[in-house]
Symmetry: C2
């Protein structure tokens, strides 16, 4: 009898997702890509980092090369705490842990709470990385639809009735990935009432917080956690990231955890990778403290706003009537909904044939719904490529709609 | 009724280990520390990294800031493959995945194979990080004693008889942490026979491979995987790390995985942190390819050998007869065994009172055995502190032995 790998129960069924195949087009320079949910390559602070490293005292450079505490490089933890305090995060009830990207933060929270067969409540659509992650814990995700103001209260309540055993509610209130929307203040307060009433943990993913396009929209990006009273705050875990305010390549994020949960999260983190990259942390600390971050954000916001404006103009010009989308006030994404029954997959086929790529809506659905929707990421496209790309997609939509009306 | 956190089954019982408390002494400059299993702060290539970054083409710098492929930065994967090929690792049956430190590599392997209640076979003593990690999977570790040549065959067979359900065997054949020994060629071949006969997966942790002290010992560090025939090779997963050949602060390691296992490992890795730090990977790639690594290793080997010589001289001078230890031929550690019944904890108490710290043997035992042993790490001690530190420990041993002979 030959050798067979003794895989764990949850592993035998693991399969890679369609989105990975798409990514090969996303990095192919012959394609115009609206696929990658990533910052713009040309905007990274590459010179600033050289300057930061050169100016570091020798001792700090040595620290950058060494192992560090599991919970994070202490000066960086302090810097993040101050930053979070400026956003109204309660310093008494919560503490900050540095993570290896915010995905690791979501992983840690999942390991804390999820057993095989458990349920997570989440928006539908939601962040694809979180969906895959919950699946890797053999947990099911119950998706709750949204309107332009956020998750739909009556649908959330229905979902919770069906899944009263749900371990937590995962939401992205600011510049949602992939839906591109921002929660209204009322919908945020609703979330607080909901978790209080139902004694549910809320995991708030706030990756895009700083990427508002107009100063007037800034107050809207207030974290849900900052609005909570001391009791409800205990039920909220907040995940932040340096990926959008510095660079994903440093793999740095953070969790803001209730103090009671913190020690357990530290043990989980210890086994995942002992500590996050100290080299990244030492650099990020100076980046945050010495004004580089503020300057970087002031430089990139208009760049992303420009791309948002260009994509909306092009969509207005090239998309046929009947296509719906919400005008993004920040972040990287426009979510596009075709008339019911028009398959987005057909639009993608046409786009790929004509050198354009984006991600289908069903990739962001826990249940393979959303077959008539797709996500356009404008963050990492060159401005001059936006209109030609959207023109192709518009033509693809027109053809798919015509075919849906006259099949055969 | 108040709110209670709905922890997962494996999490409620999680407790932090004693070793974390010790680490506060290890970083306190008032203590002479033989505790931390880490490279020497003063030896890191801090100037080389500045040079490497400055000389990188702009495009590569931008890549360093961005997300990368889950399996690793392609040029670095290639560099590691070539490096592994030079050590005789079969390129046909295996492929390389970059991980966020080798601990993450062990985590990925554990997630592939371990269900709650499963068993891992490992050396006793073994790497404390792996022990904690296996526990976080609710797996039990069955510890197998060693002699100076490696794991004891008859004891391994007995352990496997008791745990025929064991999922894999975890070993550190080169410059063992904490035991400081290197497997004999015969014992390596025995491992191959054992896994063939028993159809068991072997996880080979080779963190210290390059840290031999004498050129003559170099051939001894040949990975077990490189000695395997094509059939047995399928059963071996190899974990390497940049922590000892570059710096732990970059959080980079790698797995050499059988090609059949690779796709599943990629899915697991995807959910852990999407990708390892690209910034670290871009720098490590140049470090490896342009001769920096070779130069660095040639610089640090004599430094660690010097510390090994100094600690052995001091132990010979200050330790009473009856204390046993194996002379390390590489790596960071000497493992010390006191006469039976002499509690190492008493030596540590005396050492701490006198400004010296090290880690107790039982921290490395899955079953809290090894109470008369301890580990001395000479890697991150200044040469002039070694003798004064060992003198204190020697006095502590003398007192503990005297008290064990004349209790009360």
């Amino acid at each position: 009898m030959g050798f067979e790998y003794p895989y764990a129960r949850g592993v035998a069924h693991l399969k890679s997702s369609d989105i990975r195949d798409l990514m090969k087009y996303a990095i192919d320079p012959r394609y115009i890509s609206f696929a990658g949910g990533m910052p713009n390559n040309r905007l990274f602070p590459v010179d600033e980092v050289e300057e930061i490293y050169r100016r570091l005292p020798r001792k700090e450079k040595e620290t950058a090369f060494q192992y560090g505490p599991t919970t994070g490089y202490p000066p960086l933890r302090e810097a993040v705490k101050e930053y979070m305090a400026s956003k109204g995060i309660p310093a008494d009830s919560h503490d900050v842990m540095i993570t290896t990207g915010s995905l690791q933060g979501i992983y840690i929270v999942s390991q804390l709470f999820l057993d095989p067969g458990d349920t997570v409540l989440a928006e539908n659509p939601t962040f694809i990385g979180a969906l895959t992650l919950f699946k890797s814990f053999q947990a099911r995700t119950a998706g709750v639809p949204m309107d332009e103001h956020g998750i739909l209260p009556e649908r959330l309540e229905k979902a919770f009735e069906r899944h009263p055993e749900a371990k937590f509610l995962y939401v992205i209130p600011n510049f949602h990935n992939p839906a591109g929307l921002i929660y209204s203040p009322r919908r945020r307060r609703y979330l607080l009432d909901f978790i209080r009433k139902n004694k549910l943990v809320l995991l708030e993913d706030d990756a895009y917080n700083e990427l508002y396009f107009d100063e007037a929209d800034r107050p809207l990006t207030r974290p849900v956690l900052s609005m909570a009273d001391p009791d409800t705050a205990r039920q909220i875990i907040y995940a932040g990231t340096f990926s959008k305010i510095f660079g994903p390549g440093f793999r740095l994020g953070w969790l803001v955890l209730p103090r009671e949960v913190f020690p357990k999260a530290e043990i989980v983190k210890q086994s995942l990778d002992a500590c996050s990259p100290n080299f990244s942390q030492v650099i990020a600390n100076t980046f945050m403290r010495e004004g580089y971050m503020k300057a970087y954000l002031e430089r990139i916001r208009p760049e992303y706003r420009l791309r948002r404006d260009l994509i909306l103009q092009a969509m207005e010009k090239h998309f046929p009537p009947g296509v719906r989308y919400v005008r993004p006030k920040g972040g990287f994404y426009v979510w596009v909904e075709l008339p019911d029954g028009v398959p987005a997959a057909r639009v993608l086929d046409y786009a790929l044939e004509n050198g354009v790529v984006f991600v289908l809506g069903k990739s962001f659905a826990p249940d393979d719904s959303l077959t008539s929707a797709f996500r356009l990421a404008y963050s990492n496209v060159d401005p001059e490529q936006i209109e030609p790309g959207i023109r192709v997609i518009g033509e693809g939509i027109r053809r798919a709609m015509a075919r849906a009306q006259n099949p055969g």
